[in-house]
Symmetry: C2
């Protein structure tokens, strides 16, 4: 599997054993995440905005209102950073100093461009919908021309990316293992609850399986108990 | 309750009914979140880095290795943005166009400074530990001088902040309500599982209540079923 080549931007300087630049690791995290945080700067002021997305190869799609300030700024092709973080657990060490979190994150650098081709735009919207909840595109009413005109879809090309992963138990200083302090991991996971029907839904319509049994793909939690 | 005064940076331009600038709303979101995403720019390149934090009044504390590139950059006092996002559910509308997410997010603008006072530094570390898992500071071995020297703690002063919140069912176009498409919300929540003991823990030591019954404070989920 190929890797991204780290430059000064994404090379991990500390704890390098936690770092990965291979596409397999990076794609898996990007494909599990529901939200990314996009960073861009306007006149030296950074902005960090959460939004949904989808990945196709080394491209991330994001969308929103054509009036969105973020999308208008990003489509200028300014340098941007997209970060996806999955939180897997709280790591309780015997010392405060060695407390940590189990997590998987990707930091990707690149630039975005507006998708103008109509077919490509619809395909990107389909990818975003299916990324969030696979199976939904086929059921919902697809966008009409007016809606497409009100929507901007951007493709963010990943020029460089790296993943950071921490898993497993705390790592204490050797002399601290004798302390009478409970140590271990509190696993965290994002769970879906039973779907809540729209109050205006017709009686007798059951939720589709993809909603009733919703779960993220590729879940690979470090702190999972089972 | 007082409010932050929005300037051009944080004034919501679209869907203004989803926006809040009062401290009560903003504090509640910041106090529930476990991770923030910090944005800063170096030579025009934005970086977005996930990290833990704690809030005290209008200050956010963040910490890390004294060798951390992010902390070294932030402590210069460069303009920064800290964003906290809580994901509450997937909103399935009858049309793709009206799909959304239920979420609560805060975008805060400000600058950070290194905490040099020893007592203040320890107090900030205590705040971060207690923010993540209340009760832990009293149990774990507190930092010694060597550990404190290896740790940088920054205080980020919130100059301006705004919250965005979406709750409730999908809002479809009136003519779409007749479509035979299931609509509603798939609630999402971050759950703690049973703690996993460190393999090197002495036999018979039970996890403390704050780990065994871990939950976030102020949970106020829009899509909660019960």
């Amino acid at each position: 599997m190929t890797t991204f080549t780290p430059t000064g931007r994404s090379k991990l300087r500390r704890l390098p054993t936690r770092g990965y630049t291979d596409r397999e690791t990076i794609y898996k995290i990007l494909d599990e995440g529901l939200l990314c945080h996009i960073g861009f700067a306007v006149d030296g002021q950074p902005y960090v905005i959460p939004t949904s997305y989808a990945r196709a190869e080394d491209t991330l799609y994001v969308h929103g209102s054509a009036a969105s300030r973020m999308l208008k700024e990003l489509q200028k092709g300014v340098p941007a950073c997209v970060t996806v973080t999955l939180l897997d657990g709280l790591v309780l060490a015997r010392s405060v100093f060695h407390h940590s979190m189990n997590y998987r994150s990707v930091v990707a650098f690149g630039r975005a461009a507006l998708i103008t081709d109509a077919d490509k735009k619809i395909e990107a919207l389909r990818a975003i919908t299916e990324h969030i909840i696979s199976g939904r595109w086929a059921d919902a009413r697809t966008p009409n021309e007016k809606e497409l005109n009100q929507t901007s879809v951007l493709e963010f090309s990943i020029e460089e990316a790296s993943a950071k992963i921490r898993t497993g138990p705390p790592l204490d200083d050797e002399e601290d293992y004798a302390l009478p302090v409970w140590a271990g991991v509190v696993p965290l996971e994002l769970n879906a609850l039973a779907p809540i029907r729209d109050p205006r839904l017709s009686d007798g319509m059951a939720p589709p399986t993809y909603a009733a049994e919703y779960q993220r793909p590729n879940s690979n939690r470090s702190g999972r108990k089972d």
